[in-house]
């Protein structure tokens, strides 16, 4: 211990303190501050660069998912439109079919009434012809056969029976 204390030199201590404190102050101004500042800004730069890269990636991801969403929407819309078109087509086909049926039915009806009226007209004509015919027959009979009473009677009866068949 005494040897250690003897080794202590005031002069050396003085110089050491002077040089060392001077070195600290000089280095602080000219070295440590610029070095640490530069390193800090560099690290800050790296950090912000990493952060912005991360942000860009996220944005891209968002964009991508947006695109996909849009695409899916478009697809759904297309599907919907197709479906609507199909439905419309079916409806139109059904409508036209119904219309055609109704038209057909109407035409048949018309034909039927036309046929009926034709038939009625034909009937009426027939009736008038029959009546005139019968009148003519009656005339002839009256003219020819008034002598032959019996046979005449038979003939009239037979003729009337024939006319009833109509």
């Amino acid at each position: 211990m005494e040897k250690l204390i003897n080794q202590f030199e005031l002069g050396l201590f003085f110089w050491q303190m002077l040089i060392f404190v001077g070195l600290i102050l000089l280095l602080k101004k000219f070295a440590w501050k610029p070095i640490l500042d530069a390193v800090n800004t560099r690290e800050e730069g790296i950090r912000s660069a990493l952060l912005s890269a991360e942000n860009a990636r996220n944005e891209m991801q968002n964009l991508k998912s947006d695109n996909e969403k849009l695409l899916a929407e478009a697809r759904a819309e297309r599907d919907l439109m197709l479906k609507e078109a199909r439905e419309m087509k079916e409806k139109m086909v059904a409508d036209s079919k119904a219309e055609a049926q109704a038209e057909g039915a109407r035409m048949i009806e018309q034909a039927k009434t036309a046929i009926q009226s034709e038939k009625n007209a034909a009937m009426a004509e027939l009736k008038s012809q029959v009546s005139s015919l019968s009148l003519e027959i009656a005339e002839k009979l009256l003219k020819d056969e008034l002598s032959n009473k019996d046979s005449q009677m038979k003939l009239v009866e037979k003729m009337l029976g024939d006319a009833k068949l109509n």
Partner: protein, 385 residues
């Protein structure tokens, strides 16, 4: 190789174990030669010098070790004892004694001559390497009991070897980190040049030492000190491992100065909570607080003291052990022993490099820990326990 690692290690261990036997047996012839040499040297040198110059190999090595770990007034890279040739350069001596005495240390002639300045005579004592005021003949009287010189010591503000090395290293650190700082501006926030090697260390000090120990909120104001002390200690530790013969961080004065700065910064920047924990520990019974207060107060001084001793002891011991093993090479004087101690010295040097980093880390880390304790806030308490 068919031989596995284990027997190889065994053989090596056995070798090392046998070494002392071998070397006790061998150099009996050598030591007699050394002894005669010693006698001659003493006859030649003993008269001229006031003290006995160590001359046999072991004590020469010991003296070299002792002188190496001490500060010196000149920078000697190597010297040849037999011719008295020293390769190096003198440093200025500044003494506060009857005014300022400034002269070159070459006047001391490596401790062999008495230096004269304005009518005052000074001499370097060989035992502690310090300058004492003497008479013109350079007599140093020693205390009978302790062996310390009783001569007056002038206040010594010399630029000694350590001061010189600190200046150089400080200059180097300044240039290096100034270069690093300016390279950021020139090169778009990317380090360039030799300083970039140290950028990871700067970041390490910030991210692994300062922020975890002090906290995100307060760490910034301590960064300059922590970074400076880390690189200062690290560089001086590394420089101490070079063969230049420098031992700065293994000097108690240096570590004391560094520890004192940590102590001052800790206590001057401490908040109320820190002092509250020292003098009136919350959360313990009142009588305990009275007992704890002096213990905690003692801790305030023990913490920097341990910092000082830890760094000093690690580096000092490393230098002593390394030099002893290098010295062994010359003592063994056999090709097995010397090469083994060379290998050992090599491995130890690697270990010392680790220690150099480790001690710089520990000093910085503990300083940061103390700063963190001084800045701890109350709500942080719960998180810690």
């Amino acid at each position: 190789m068919v031989i596995s690692n284990k027997p190889l290690r065994f053989i090596l261990a056995a070798f090392v174990m046998c070494l002392p036997l071998l070397n006790f047996a061998n150099p009996t012839a050598d030591s007699t030669v050394v002894a005669t040499e010693t006698a001659q040297h003493e006859a030649a040198a003993g008269h001229k010098e006031g003290h006995a110059e160590p001359t046999d190999l072991k004590s020469q090595i010991n003296a070299f070790k002792k002188h190496h770990v001490l500060d010196a007034h000149d920078f000697t890279l190597f010297s040849d004892n037999s011719t008295g040739y020293h390769f190096g350069f003198p440093l200025p001596v500044i003494l506060l004694d009857n005014g300022l005495q400034v002269f070159s240390s070459s006047k001391f002639n490596h401790g062999e001559s008495v230096a004269e300045s304005n009518g005052n005579y000074y001499k370097i004592n060989h035992h502690d390497g310090k300058i004492y005021k003497t008479d013109a003949a350079g007599t140093i009287t020693e205390d009978e009991k302790t062996g310390h010189p009783t001569n007056v010591r002038p206040i010594d503000f010399s630029i000694t070897k350590n001061v010189f090395v600190i200046l150089i290293v400080a200059f180097l650190i300044f240039l290096l980190f100034k270069g690093l700082a300016s390279s950021y501006q020139k090169n778009g926030s990317i380090a360039k040049g030799p300083g970039r090697i140290f950028e990871p260390l700067v970041l390490y000090v910030r991210d692994e030492i300062a922020i975890p120990n002090i906290g995100e909120k307060h760490y910034k104001k301590y960064m300059s000190y922590l970074l400076t002390i880390f690189f200062f200690v690290l560089f001086l530790n590394i420089v101490g491992l070079t063969p230049l013969g420098i031992n700065v961080t293994g000097n108690i004065t240096i570590t004391a100065a560094l520890a004192m700065l940590t102590f001052l910064i800790t206590n001057l920047s401490a908040n109320k909570n820190y002092w509250g924990h020292i003098f009136w520990m919350p959360g313990v019974p009142k009588p305990m607080r009275v007992i704890l207060a002096p213990i905690e107060l003692l801790g305030v001084f023990i913490k920097p003291f341990s910092l000082m001793i830890r760094l000093f002891a690690n580096i000092f011991a490393g230098h002593i052990v390394l030099m002893s093993i290098i010295g062994l090479m010359f003592i063994f004087k056999s090709w097995i022993g010397s090469s083994l101690s060379f290998g050992l010295a090599f491995v130890l040097s690697l270990l010392e490099i680790l220690v150099a980093f480790l001690q710089a880390y520990i000093f910085t880390m503990l300083s940061a820990l103390y700063f963190g304790a001084a800045n701890e806030e109350h709500h942080h308490e719960e998180a810690h326990h």
